[in-house]
């Protein structure tokens, strides 16, 4: 019987999800004995033209990471959805949009302009043309174009399962591969991670206070960070309460607060808005007049609440990113 086929693809990506597969370590060699990795641009020489020749549904599972930023990514994920029986959103970008989703606070014109126009190292010569914006395909050579907004994978194609995290945890990736190969069960909520919030498995949960009332939010660099006390009790913003667990509290163990990369809990649409509700509970509201002052001690509300999840927020991005 033929070995099941696996594929790994990256959209707008950093390669970290590829590393999370390689970090499976020698177990990868064992996987290659029972499965055929047929498409993985980072590691294998299969080209797009080879992929086109695969029969629809002939790939057991395709692990897709990265945000959908360019038109090429949209085309590729639609193709892979046809070629694969299962599509697994691999990593925070595919799951909830990722850090590149912060680009949704800008129009594509602005994004391109800051890199290709207002840049101190840039020469200013007469034939400086923004890449790809030329309508003349002889000069742009068919270069991929930016979509108006960054999307998560399930905003473009139906997705079967999710592996959260930035980066994902190799053990969860390994479990997902095993589930595809039939040696482990799939999770009933379709997400390879914990069901409870990070606080539930946090090493500092014992001293997390029941009630926290802050008159100011401290930024992480402003004082020595206590390695044992709950960050919220130290007045430092930590998104643990509104973030899914499963990362092993790796940032917390490095004495840094959670920034939400595992995404929201079940039944939450908009991680940032939930984060906002949670922040509200921390504010000391004994005097209503001080509320605005307390809020202004948060240095970048939108960037902290939506560090990883802006594309999958209800509003999705800035109004100027939505205008075509």
């Amino acid at each position: 019987m033929a070995k099941p086929k696996l594929a790994f693809y990256w959209c707008s990506s950093c390669g970290g999800c590829e590393e999370s597969v390689i970090d499976i370590g020698p177990r990868l060699i064992q996987i290659a004995e029972v499965a055929d990795i047929v498409f993985w641009p980072a590691a294998i020489d299969t080209k797009y033209s080879d992929l086109q020749l695969f029969e629809d549904g002939s790939i057991a599972a395709c692990f897709i990471n990265g945000s959908i930023r360019m038109d090429e990514h949209e085309q590729m994920v639609r193709l892979l959805r046809k070629k694969a029986r299962l599509v697994i959103a691999h990593g925070a970008c595919a799951h909830i949009g990722g850090v590149y989703g912060l680009g949704n606070f800008y129009s594509t014109e602005d994004l391109l302009s800051y890199s290709y126009e207002h840049c101190p190292t840039l020469e200013h010569s007469s034939n400086a043309a923004f890449p790809s914006l030329s309508e003349n395909s002889d000069t742009s050579m068919g270069l991929s174009r930016l979509l108006p907004m960054v999307s998560a994978l399930d905003q473009v194609v139906p997705v079967d399962y999710y592996i959260p995290g930035c980066p994902p945890v190799p053990d969860w990736v390994f479990r997902a591969i095993n589930a595809v190969l039939g040696t482990e069960p799939f999770p009933d909520n379709r997400i390879f991670a914990e069901k409870k919030a990070l606080c539930d498995s946090c090493p500092r949960r014992e001293n997390k206070p029941d009630k926290i009332k802050l008159t100011r939010f401290k930024r992480p660099h402003e004082s020595q960070l206590d390695p044992e006390t709950c960050f919220l009790a130290q007045g430092i913003l930590c998104l643990g309460p509104v973030t899914r667990g499963g990362c092993g509290s790796r940032c917390i163990s490095a004495n840094m607060p959670c920034r939400g990369c595992f995404g929201p809990l079940d039944n939450v649409f908009d991680q940032g808005m939930k984060g906002l509700s949670f922040l509200a509970t921390l504010i000391n509201d004994l005097t209503p007049d001080n509320i605005d002052e307390i809020i202004s001690s948060i240095p970048d509300l939108g960037g902290i609440l939506y560090r990883y999840s802006l594309p999958t927020s209800i509003l999705r991005g800035h109004v100027k990113a939505r205008k075509k």
Binding site: R85, L86, F105, S151, D154, Q155, V156, V157, P158, V159, D160, R190, F269, D270, G272, M273, K274, L276, S277, L279, A280, T281, I283, D285, P288, I291, D292, I295, S296, I298, L301, G302, L305, Y306, T312, S313, I314, L315, R316, G317, H318, V319, K320, R322, K323
Partner: protein
């Protein structure tokens, strides 16, 4: 124009009824969503209102200290304070979101608030949110 009003069941909704009984009219643009308490309003609801095309959102609750559930309106006050900081990230002018605390017989004040809001939104007319009937755009449900 669409102005979504989240009115708490106790003081605010009562004052809306009171406006009716006193034959006071408020603009048709104002669409009421009744909730048990202003503290029940999830910021996701407000985001959803803007995503679906609301020009403005007005949250009305009991006066501070008079909340039917004691603390609910304080939660709302803090959430709205944060939302007003957050909305400009999305290109939504923070004046499009307001909250006010009224008592059950403040029906004149209610009508005033709505009219003031409409007036201010008309002035903001040039800076439309541009949000249309999208909301969360998710691909259809999973195949298998």
């Amino acid at each position: 124009m669409n102005i979504i009003g989240f009115l708490c069941n106790w003081c605010s909704y009562e004052s809306a009824d009171g406006a009716g009984r006193a034959s006071l009219t408020y603009p048709e643009d104002f669409k009421i969503v009744r909730v048990m308490c202003s503290g029940r309003i999830d910021p996701q609801h407000i985001a959803q209102a803007f995503a679906l095309g609301a020009n403005g959102v007005l949250v009305l609750g009991c006066r501070l200290g008079e909340c039917h559930y004691k603390e609910g309106n304080r939660h709302a006050l803090k959430r709205i304070g944060l939302l007003k900081q957050l909305l400009p990230y999305f290109g939504i002018d923070s004046r499009r979101l307001k909250c006010a605390w009224i008592s059950a017989n403040d029906h004149e004040r209610l009508v005033e608030l709505i009219q003031e809001m409409k007036k201010e939104l008309l002035e903001l007319e040039g800076s439309e949110t541009g949000y249309e009937q999208e909301g969360i755009n998710k691909a259809q449900e999973v195949v298998s």
